[in-house]
Amino acid sequence: MRTVLYILQKEFIQVFRDKAMLPIIFIVPVMQLLVLSYTATFEIKNTRFVVLDHDKSVLSKKLVSKFRGSSFFSFAGDATNYEEAEQAIKKNQTDQILIIEPDFEKKLNQEKSAKVQVVTNAINGSAASLMYAYAASIVSDFNREIIVEQTPLKNLGLPIRVRSSYWYNPELNYITFMVPGILVLLVTIIGMFLSGMNLVKEKEIGTIEQINVTPIKKHQFIIGKLIPFWVIANVDLVIGLLLARFVFNIPVAGNIFLLFFVASIYLVVVLSFGLFISTLTNTMQQSMFISWFFLVVFILMSGLFTPVESMPGWAQVIVKFNPVSYFIRINRMIMLKGSGFTDFQNDFWILTAYAAAMFIFSTARYRKTV
């Protein structure tokens, strides 16, 4: 135990003496949280549209102004003919073209039917279907208004009415959904890099040899290496939660101690993983590349950006081995839903088993011989 304390003392001295690392440890995560939370959004806002109005009547202008009034659309100009509108899409000056047929108003008044065409740039399929859906809902809104105007006396009440209420995130705020996940990423990236670089750095500068001729026990050394980064990552989590509370107005709905308890177990997984990579490699460069490889896979397959449920079956099997996805799920449950331990205990036990396994792997892999 005393031995571990001496290692801890040494590690903390080294971390706080490294003037280049301190900002990386404490300022970079803050920047990432602030920037990523605002930008990692799938909401489509400000869809640019060009209008090709062949009618130019009062009604057609009314339709256009409905588009312009919506916060989802931003007007990108009028086109005089179809070629001009198409050029605008090609030059990426617009996402959509709204085409109104000639005699739009006349046909509506006389034949009770007229045509509007919406052309959407569908390179990004999911974004395109959202843009189309927004456009369709504006047009159907417009439809209803016309019907009400033209048949003012009829009550068009619908027999079934749906009243929806959104739970846990009533304003459907994307940031609320993203922040708990991004918090997980921050501690993961910091933890994995710090631990992944540390042991291998001692190999590179040669100090590990002096350690290896001492009677130090393998587990003492690994624990001594793990605890400092475990503390640092937890401090980063505290900072992140404070930002979530005071900048994004997302309080932790559940028990904050439960959150830190799970985080502590999770960090053992991440840090042991980093140390494990460190024991396998000989230079910081190698360690960096391997850490990156796993981090990219872990993050993209974590369910943060894309739902796990929509991944193919084999990918879902891989996700079962992804520690990041477990903690993102649990963190969202605790922070947003206020879930208790029993709500996620299966995930928790898997994470605990993972932590034990990774710790044993990294201890076994660390060799005191060359």
Binding site: R2, T3, L5, Y6, I7, Q9, K10, I13, Q14, R17, D18, I205, G206, T207, E209, Q210, I211, N212, V213, T214, P215, I216, K217, K368, T369, V370
Partner: protein, 245 residues
């Protein structure tokens, strides 16, 4: 010859890396309190042997007993009893002198007071008291080597292994370094040192000379000079190397 107590004994020690044999059937022993020079042209081969004796590397075959323990079966017990100074400077450059001493003393299980006293003793002995709170990276190489040696014997080991401790160091510091070695040996610690400076070989009580992984000669410098009928260790070394060709 007086009855001597063996602290290192090596029997038929072999170390192979693939098809390359670094150490070929080494047989030798070192007595308690002796200054033993381990010489040879190839630095890597000497380092390999030192690493086996200090429990850092496992022998391919053969047996080595250090401080009473078999190195391949009880490496941690061996490690408790030895000090080691690597060829590569390996104290923490981003820590102060005091912090390095405290760290190594701590992991050898020394008491706080003992660490403080020993640190003060060594710094005084080296005339480096004013360096106590200085970062290692700001200290010149020769001084750092002396500190590394002090750290290696901080916990009063029974044997200290020094792997080319004076490489790249000026002649005056080398001399001071050998004075430290003599002081250490006088207190009963066995010193096992590799070097490629033949003038340093003269300072050793006994030396072994390796060539192509084998020990070609072993004995006191005087015995070896007589055997090869030359007047300096330099010539002994050249004769052995030439004889092999």
């Amino acid at each position: 010859m007086k009855q001597r107590e063996e602290i290192i004994s090596v029997e038929n020690l072999v170390k192979k890396f693939g098809r390359f044999t670094a150490n070929d059937r080494l047989n030798f022993s070192v007595g308690k309190g002796e200054i033993f020079g381990f010489l040879g042209a190839n630095g890597a081969v000497k380092t390999t042997a030192i690493k086996i004796l200090s429990g850092l590397s496992k022998p391919t075959s053969g047996k080595a007993v250090v401080a009473g323990f078999d190195v391949s079966r009880h490496p941690d017990k061996v490690k408790k009893n030895i000090g080691y100074m690597s060829q590569r400077f390996s104290l923490y450059e981003d820590m102060t002198v005091k912090e390095n001493f405290r760290f190594y003393g701590g992991i050898y299980g020394m008491r706080r007071k003992e660490i403080r006293d020993r640190t003060a003793f060594f710094l005084k002995n080296l005339g480096m008291q004013s360096f106590e709170n200085m970062l290692l990276k700001k200290i010149p190489l020769g001084w750092k080597q002396k500190l590394a040696f002090s750290v290696a014997i901080l916990h009063n080991p029974r044997i200290v292994f020094l792997d080319e401790p004076t490489g790249g160091v000026d002649p005056i510091t080398r001399r001071q370094f050998w004075e430290l070695i003599y002081e250490t040996a006088a207190q009963g610690t066995t010193v096992f040192v590799t070097t490629h400076y033949m003038d340093e070989a003269e300072y050793c009580e006994r030396v072994s000379i390796m060539s192509e992984g084998r020990i070609e000669a072993i004995g006191t410098p005087a015995q070896l000079k007589e055997k090869f009928k030359v007047s300096t260790m330099d010539e002994v070394f050249l004769k052995i190397a030439r004889y092999k060709e």
